[in-house]
């Protein structure tokens, strides 16, 4: 998956986790929790959905890497590079 594919996948997951939010103006560098109504349990849903959909196991110490879209894509790019879209 490319960076764009990963971004698209994360938006798809967010649209399920935060169904009341308009994600069209999501800012790349701003933490998700500063621009969306997400709490720690919602955040864990991102981790769970990546695990369910792509079989990616993210260690707890790496969770801060998933703070914003930019950092998430940067973190996932090497992890997901061999996954077919």
């Amino acid at each position: 998956m490319t960076a764009d594919d990963i971004r698209e996948a994360v938006v798809e997951i967010l649209s399920d986790i935060a169904p009341d939010e308009d994600l069209s103006g999501l800012k790349e560098e701003v933490p998700f929790r500063d621009q969306l109504e997400l709490d720690s349990m919602d955040f864990l849903d991102i981790v769970m959905e990546l695990r369910k959909q792509y079989r990616i196991q993210i260690p707890e110490e790496d969770y801060p890497e998933l703070a914003s879209m930019k950092s998430t894509v940067a973190y996932l790019e090497p992890v997901m590079k061999d996954i077919e879209k």
């Binding site: 169904p19 009341d20 109504e37 349990m41 769970m48 369910k52």
Partner: protein, 414 residues
């Protein structure tokens, strides 16, 4: 007869909100009950397959965001809808109500089965690897969940909890609300019961294995308490929450008052896991009457618990015959014949369906009685058509449950 309780211990109902399989407001529900409209329909659930059930169609998004619905439980959504509706109905100045003095008391027959079954179904897709088990499991399945979701949604910071009381739970919620108001633990009690039980296949499979699940080609005829051809219980979802206040508080704000809860009682059979005991049921009814300082002949309507099982219906009828001595002036009806058994909501929903009789003096019927079981012959049974009454001032509401839990609530018109 005048209640001897001090004024500040007299508890009145000032608001009602509900969702039932045949109505999403007290007025809609009442119209369906008077017009003989059933809410039971065909239904299918994983593993168990085709059956019938009472299904609600209230708009959960009226009071919840999509995110809340996704995070929470069906029981939570039912409770939130009913509570909002009851507060609006009560005319309380909610914005200026001190939320620390509001208590939430919600009766449940069971909670957590739906969510646990869903999650096991989910991890089955991952070969039962528990790392795929949701972190939402515990907050969804803790026993206080439905009451807690109401507290979260409405910003209520007073006490909240559920009453696990099998199918006596709706009455138990009301009784708890009365007691907490009398103790001064709250100034407004939001009390009642909820059911999400149609979303667990286990309840259908369990009743089926017990030989107690209703079956009928026409779903609207499946729930038929007292009928000789009854086959068992129709499982339903639903909820009803009532606003309870101390009489002086309600009077001071000029509240509309549906009625006063003048008597209530709970007791235990201590005889069997599932078989009811008419001795204890009769004792529970007599205890509620005694506390209300009323005699059986003072009761105008008895709302029965009967679920459509062979034994349950006959045992309750036996208890009623013992208390009411067949005098016949008391009208007797059953709401489950319209909506099925709404489990934790049943007792309070059935009371809500009967309370409008204080205004229209009509006792709604028990429907689907084509051939009355001789063992269910109770004087005053209102069969298939509503009955106009000379007087409708006092309603006695039965609600009984497994493990031998009995509850009775008596409400009088003010």
């Amino acid at each position: 007869m005048v209640t001897q309780r001090p004024e500040h211990e007299r508890i009145v109902i000032t608001g009602m909100g509900l969702t039932a399989p045949n109505g999403n407001s007290p007025d809609e529900f009442r119209r369906s009950l008077l017009d003989g409209i059933s809410g039971v329909t065909d239904y299918e659930i994983r593993y168990f397959g085709k059956t019938v059930a009472g299904i609600c169609d209230f708009d959960a998004l009226r009071y919840q965001k999509r995110r809340e619905v996704r995070r929470g439980t069906r029981a939570g959504s039912v409770g939130i809808y009913c509570t909002h509706e009851s507060i609006a109905d009560s005319g309380l100045d909610w914005e200026n109500t001190d939320k620390a003095n509001v208590g939430v008391y919600v009766g449940v027959t069971e909670h957590g089965n739906v969510e646990t079954e869903n999650e096991i179904y989910q991890i089955k897709q991952y070969d039962y690897d528990c790392s795929f088990w949701t972190h939402h499991h515990n907050p969804r399945t803790v026993a206080n969940n439905p009451a807690g979701e109401i507290s979260l949604n409405l910003g209520i910071v007073g006490p909240h909890y559920t009453l696990g009381a099998a199918c006596a739970a709706g009455n138990a919620g009301l009784i708890q609300g009365c007691q907490m108001l009398r103790l001064g633990e709250c100034d407004v009690a939001l009390a009642g019961g909820v059911s999400e039980s149609i979303h667990t296949f286990g309840i259908f499979a369990g009743f089926n294995s017990q030989g107690a699940l209703a079956k009928h080609d026409d779903p609207t005829k499946a729930s038929r308490p007292f009928d000789a051809d009854r086959t068992g219980i129709v499982v339903a979802e639903g909820g009803c929450m009532m606003v309870l206040e101390r009489l002086p508080d309600a009077a001071a704000r000029g509240a509309k008052i549906y009625g006063e809860i003048v008597g209530h009682a709970m007791n235990s059979d201590a005889t069997d896991f599932v078989m009811p005991n008419p001795d204890r049921q009769a004792e529970c009814i007599r205890l509620a009457l005694k506390r209300a300082q009323l005699n059986p002949e003072d009761i105008d309507i008895v709302s029965t618990h009967a679920t459509g099982t062979t034994t349950g219906d006959t045992q309750e009828c036996e208890a009623l015959r013992r208390v009411f001595n067949g005098e016949g002036r008391t009208a007797v009806n059953n709401t489950k014949s319209f909506i099925g058994h709404a489990m934790g909501a049943a007792g309070v929903l059935e009371l809500a369906g009967n309370l409008p009789a204080f205004n229209d003096r009509v006792c709604h019927a028990t429907i689907n009685v084509d051939r009355l079981d001789p063992e269910c012959e109770v004087a005053g049974l209102v069969i298939n058509e509503p009955r106009e009454l000379d007087k409708a001032d006092v309603i006695l509401n039965n609600s009984f449950g497994m493990l031998g839990i009995n509850s009775v609530v008596i409400v009088r018109r003010i």
